[in-house]
């Protein structure tokens, strides 16, 4: 469905250090340097996938999204989405996609949301019957009911984001690009947005590509992640595989009835100890977690056990470090 091959893009940016003298100097001779936003990026995405596109700020995420949504022409490389070349067939192509830029609104601030929706209906030339069907579905699943008659600027961030997502789905696109859809949202709204994305992917077979910094988004939504750093793809694949590859340690925290001295274990280091609680970091390459727990329960009177895997964030950081991003 989406095939990207060898994309490269270079930008020119002005450089300037701080200070007054420097400001005057660069006024007369500005310096430019080249930034390789993308270098030889290739991947392909099948219909119905949800792909998490992650990477640190400035890694090239939004450049890729821009190329895929037809608003930026790459220097080199090919891209074919549903048989279109996005930048060449832009007007025809964009009918089939929906784009949500999390930090910018596509709704008109001063009029009720409904009015914005109707305008979008006219922009995308959606048939009245289809419009009613999508609107009903969106209203119901995103719980928009009363919000629709409120001017956008009076909505809370969570309400607004739900409307943004609805707005980009009114024309029933086959592909949905979400650029940081959960940024700044509270826990409840985040969950609502995630559930909706899952639903729309399952029911309507919408292919979803989302960028985010929130790894919970990725964990609940994406079966596949593509990680980019310094314009290059660092990892493309399953989230669990990534874990297996990079998770080397787990932490085990046990509560127990009083014990007077710390207990040392093989292949696990003691992180903290008190007379009723201890935390171990287990090297899972050497010894299984269950083995550790059984040893502990044999030696102590355990009251509670908790096992924590390394948070996905730290795995990502490891990966960035490995590639020196």
């Amino acid at each position: 469905m989406i095939k990207v091959e060898g994309l490269s893009k270079t930008f020119k940016v002005a450089r300037r250090s701080s200070g007054f003298g420097e400001a005057v100097r660069s006024f007369f001779s500005p310096k430019f340097s080249e930034v390789h936003a993308l270098r030889d990026v290739s991947f392909s995405i099948d219909e119905g996938e949800i792909v998490g596109y992650i990477g640190p700020n400035g890694a090239g995420k939004s450049t890729t999204i821009k190329v895929m949504s037809g608003i930026l022409v790459p220097d080199k490389g090919e891209c074919s989405i549903m048989g279109y070349v996005p930048w060449r067939d832009r007007v025809k192509y964009v009918k089939n996609i929906g784009v949500v830029f999390g930090q910018r609104s596509q709704l008109w601030a001063d009029v009720p949301v409904m009015d914005s929706f109707e305008l979008l209906r006219d922009i995308y030339k959606v048939q009245p019957a289809n419009y009613k069907k999508s609107l009903d579905l969106l209203t119901e699943t995103l719980n928009l009911g009363e919000i629709l008659t409120t001017p956008t600027r009076q909505l809370s961030l969570g309400q607004r984001m739900r409307c943004e997502i609805a707005a980009s789905l009114i024309h029933d696109p086959k592909i949905l690009f979400l650029d940081e859809p959960t940024i700044g949202l509270d826990a409840m709204s985040k969950i609502a947005v995630r559930n909706f994305i899952k639903m729309i992917n399952k029911e309507k077979k919408v292919t979803v590509i989302l960028t985010t910094h929130d790894m919970n988004d990725i964990e609940t939504l994406a079966n596949r992640i593509i990680m980019i750093g310094k314009g290059q793809i660092l990892y493309d694949g399953n989230l669990n595989n990534l874990r297996e590859k990079f998770v080397t340690h787990k932490t085990v925290t046990v509560d127990y009835n009083e014990n007077t001295s710390p207990l040392e274990l093989d292949s696990a280091s003691l992180l903290s100890w008190s007379k009723d609680r201890a935390t171990y970091v287990v090297d899972i390459k050497k010894r299984g977690v269950s083995d550790i727990i059984s040893e502990l329960s044999a030696k102590l009177e355990l009251t509670d056990v908790a096992v924590d895997s390394e948070p996905i964030e730290e795995i990502i950081i490891k990966l960035y470090k490995e590639h020196q991003v």
């Binding site: 200070g19 007054f20 400001a23 005057v24 006024f27 007369f28 500005p30």
Partner: protein, 267 residues
Amino acid sequence: MKPYLAIFNLRMINGLQYRIAALAGVATQFVWGFMYIMIYEAFYHGFTGTQTISLEQLATYIWLQQAFFFFVLLWLKDNEIFDSITSGSIAYELCRPCGIYGFWFAKLIAHRLSGTLLRCMPILVIGFFLPIPYRLSLPPNFLTFILFLVTLLLGLIVVISLSMIVYVSVFVTMSPIGSFLIFSVVGEFFSGLMMPVPLMPIWLQNIVYILPFRLSGDLPFRVYSGNISTNDAIIGILTQILWIIGLIALGKVLLTKMLKRVVVQGG
């Protein structure tokens, strides 16, 4: 004094960043200057009597207007200040260890100064080499030049103390655009930007002389071109100082009043 200097410095650096903008500004000012002089040339061409200002003096007047455009024009607005008032984030500025009046004042001066420093030189230099009647002439003597500099700088302070009152008024209106537009249109007319003050009918000139607007541009430019005598120039300087004292006092009183209201309302 230090925080004021810091904001001044920051604003200057910020202004210097935009060299293409400055170039575009110079070009714009240049075209406008030419256009005005051409129109006045046409007016003078078929006119046989004498006017209170000669075409050569007028050309100088117009080039100075263009070169020091950023000192004179009133619609130059600092959106950050407006936004901080309307959005209520002014409350944060209250946390700073320096007075808001002085802080804004420094910021506005820096804005106008950086804009002018970048633009005035090319216009002045080219103006000096243009053929008569388009030429920007030199001041008749050194004293007038000194008087010009003094009136020009005092004029800048007049403009800023005037606009401070407009900024304060936003606390009441909460929507700057409309009132700002009316203020700048009317003010620029009375400051001689739309038509030179000496060419206005006498009754209108009398109104202009009562108002402070002409002190920013009209006074220094006419001092420079020799259209105003030394004595009148000194009277002009005294008038400027009186207005500055009055306007700053008024602005400070109003601002304190408004800030009290903000604090009471809790921002």
